[in-house]
């Protein structure tokens, strides 16, 4: 376990950037640099070599998806870099672009609103920095809502579990949330993987990736 997670933060709105710096510091992250544009982000990452990048999607200079493109570039340069992008609204295409960068691990796609739930947000950052994948619940819900034949075979509870799996939760965490035993969750996950024609696997991340890859295939 490395001592402290070093973070480079990119957010163009000064107040929010300062708020995020406060949040990260409060939860024990070390903020190596906090910048306000996509090119500055790329420079800062090359200089500081952080463990984690947290970036807004829409940033200067073009105010489009500059932050996301910078993140994808950085991931291509160093596949081990953990990246969490923040988006103002649900945009499944962004999630796909990010998941396609590198091996799909150490990435997160979250709605900006999530930073309001500070503890949960910090928890998600930690999970991603530790090698996990995190997709915003809204995006997952959005993907699950689409009628797709294999998913129709899932029960409501199985869909619920799949959503939580896609968000990057472990079986234990899911069990705690749904107030069921971990064994029951394990059974649900087994059923889901079987119904979706995915080979069972103990490795949490490979399981997440398989599910996400499946979700992405339809997008």
């Amino acid at each position: 376990m490395p001592s402290v997670t070093r973070v480079v933060l990119a957010e163009d709105e000064v107040l929010l950037r300062e708020g995020l710096v406060g949040l990260l510091t409060r939860f024990g992250f070390a903020v190596a640099a906090a910048v306000g544009s996509a090119p500055a982000l790329v420079d800062a990452v090359r200089t500081h070599r952080p463990d984690l990048v947290v970036t807004d999607i829409r940033m200067p200079p073009e105010h489009r998806d500059d932050g996301l493109r910078a993140a994808v570039t950085l991931r291509a340069e160093s596949p081990d870099l953990a990246v969490v992008v923040l988006s103002q609204h649900v945009q499944s295409g962004y999630a796909a672009a990010l998941l396609d960068s590198g091996d799909g691990r150490r990435v997160g796609y979250l709605l900006k609103d999530r930073v309001a739930d500070v503890a949960e947000f910090a928890d998600t950052l930690r999970r991603v920095a530790a090698g996990g994948t995190a997709v915003d619940p809204d995006v997952v819900r959005h993907l699950l809502r689409r009628p797709r034949d294999p998913l129709d075979t899932l029960s409501r509870r199985e869909r619920e579990v799949l959503g939580l799996v896609a968000e990057g939760h472990s079986n234990g965490a899911i069990a705690a949330r749904l107030h069921v035993t971990e064994a029951a969750v394990g059974k649900h996950v087994g059923n889901i993987l079987a119904k979706l024609d995915l080979p069972p696997d103990d490795d949490t991340n490979r399981r997440v990736l398989a599910v996400l890859a499946y979700l992405r295939a339809g997008g």
């Binding site: 929010l16 708020g19 406060g22 105010h63 489009r64 103002q88």
Partner: protein, 426 residues
């Protein structure tokens, strides 16, 4: 094949001689005669002073000045009231034009007697003058040709009594000599009958040109452009508001909510400050959701961030019906055109999901010449009807506002193809 809407169009069809069009042309020509006759008499009042001068000059006599003055005054008075006087004639002529041209022809707007003195009314006067002078000449010439043809055909009988007659340029004195001319005359008859068609069509074209009371095309184009400019300004304003909220209010609110969340962490659960802080945090979070909804309603965010092709791809990904997108956009279109195109696709895919009962749909985006073409096709049940409130009317209005065209093919049983063409002015 569609029926031609006017004589000139019908003339280009192979079945013209067998259609009703020659008879319609004949009816038009026949009814022209009395109208032209009446107008010719009225026209003589206007040209009377000129006739007086000409006749005096020809007879080498001095011009009768008092008579000329009276006639000139009469002519000027007639011309002055002409815009009022010709109104009923113009109305009759517009109605009569319907015989050979079923396309609508609006008359000028009537705004009382004074309001009659407009460019459109003077065009009606010009039409009447033309009908009183040029048309009788043309009809007369054509009538002479017909008479000549009749004479050619009748030649063998006319020469029966051993009389010498002149046919065109030759003099013949026996029925046998006249026969070749008669044959030529018989052959020329259908040609003449056919020639009548273009003649009447030409007359109808001039009538249409001079009697069209609609605002002229240039003015209409200007109105269309100014509407597009207004729409453009409106769109720019929406974009500015969206940007202000997105770049100003939203991150500040997020920051505020975050600070409230951080503050709550350091307040013990049993502190009296905890419940109000929790409530403030919750309300701020709800406000974030509300504000996000408002911004999205002002202008689609995806369009700003992803461009047209990306935003349409996002729409397709959200659709309940599987949608494939083929975007061939070599260059960006003006902002207003892109927004319109996005709304077209958004609305069309909404219709596909709600009404079509389709299993798949396809969206095509391409530049064709100086236009952006958007096509949405589905394999649903078809029968889309703009009158049944499927949102097509609103869509058509939106498209018309940028001077675009909306075409819909939706036979019962499907497939439904919606095609929208949007001009991309620089």
């Amino acid at each position: 094949m569609t029926q031609p809407s006017h004589l000139a169009g019908a003339l280009r069809r192979r079945h013209y001689p067998l259609s009703a069009w020659p008879w319609r042309a004949l009816a038009y020509a026949a009814t022209t005669l009395p109208v032209a006759g009446v107008l010719a008499v009225a026209w003589s009042v206007v040209v009377a002073p000129l006739l007086l001068v000409v006749s005096a000059l020809r007879r080498d006599r001095p011009v009768d000045v008092p008579a000329l003055a009276v006639l000139a005054a009469l002519a000027l008075a007639a011309l002055a009231v002409a815009p009022l006087a010709v109104a009923p004639v113009a109305a009759v002529e517009r109605w009569r034009l319907g015989l050979v041209d079923s396309r609508p022809l609006p008359g000028p707007l009537r705004r009382g007697p004074i309001g009659r003195f407009t460019a459109a009314a003077w065009r009606e006067v010009a039409y009447c003058a033309w009908l009183a002078t040029v048309v009788p000449l043309a009809y007369g010439t054509f009538g002479l040709l017909v008479l000549l043809d009749v004479a050619l055909v009748a030649g063998p009988w006319l020469t029966g009594g051993g009389e010498r007659i002149v046919l065109v340029w030759d003099t013949v004195d026996s029925p046998a000599g006249a026969v070749p001319y008669a044959v030529a005359g018989v052959l020329a008859a259908p040609l003449l009958a056919y020639l009548a068609g273009p003649l009447v069509a030409g007359q109808a074209a001039v009538a249409r040109w001079l009697l069209d009371g609609a605002p002229d095309a240039a003015a209409l184009r200007e109105v269309t452009r100014s509407r597009a400019r207004l729409m453009g300004a409106y769109e720019a304003e929406r974009r500015r508001i969206e940007r202000d909220v997105h770049d100003g209010a939203q991150p500040r609110l997020t920051s505020l909510t975050l600070q409230l969340g951080l503050a709550r962490l350091d307040v013990p659960d049993d502190s009296p400050a905890a419940p109000p802080l929790d409530a403030a945090h919750e309300q701020a979070k709800e406000l974030m959701v509300t504000l996000r909804g408002i911004v999205q309603g002002i202008r689609p965010r995806q369009l700003t961030e992803l461009g047209l092709a990306g935003a349409v791809g996002d729409l397709a990904a959200r659709s309940v019906v599987p949608v494939t997108v083929r975007a061939d956009l070599s260059r960006p279109a003006p902002e207003l055109v892109e927004t319109t195109a996005w709304y077209v696709v958004s609305e069309a895919l909404g219709n596909v999901a709600r009404h079509a009962g389709a299993t798949r749909a396809q969206v095509r985006l391409a530049h064709t010449g100086r236009r952006l073409v958007v096509e949405v096709e589905d394999d649903g049940r078809g029968g889309a009807d703009p009158d049944r409130g499927t949102g097509l009317t609103g869509l058509a209005d939106r498209v018309a506002a940028v001077d675009g065209r909306l075409l819909l093919a939706s036979p019962p049983g499907g497939p439904t193809i919606l095609r929208v063409e949007l001009p991309c002015r620089p």
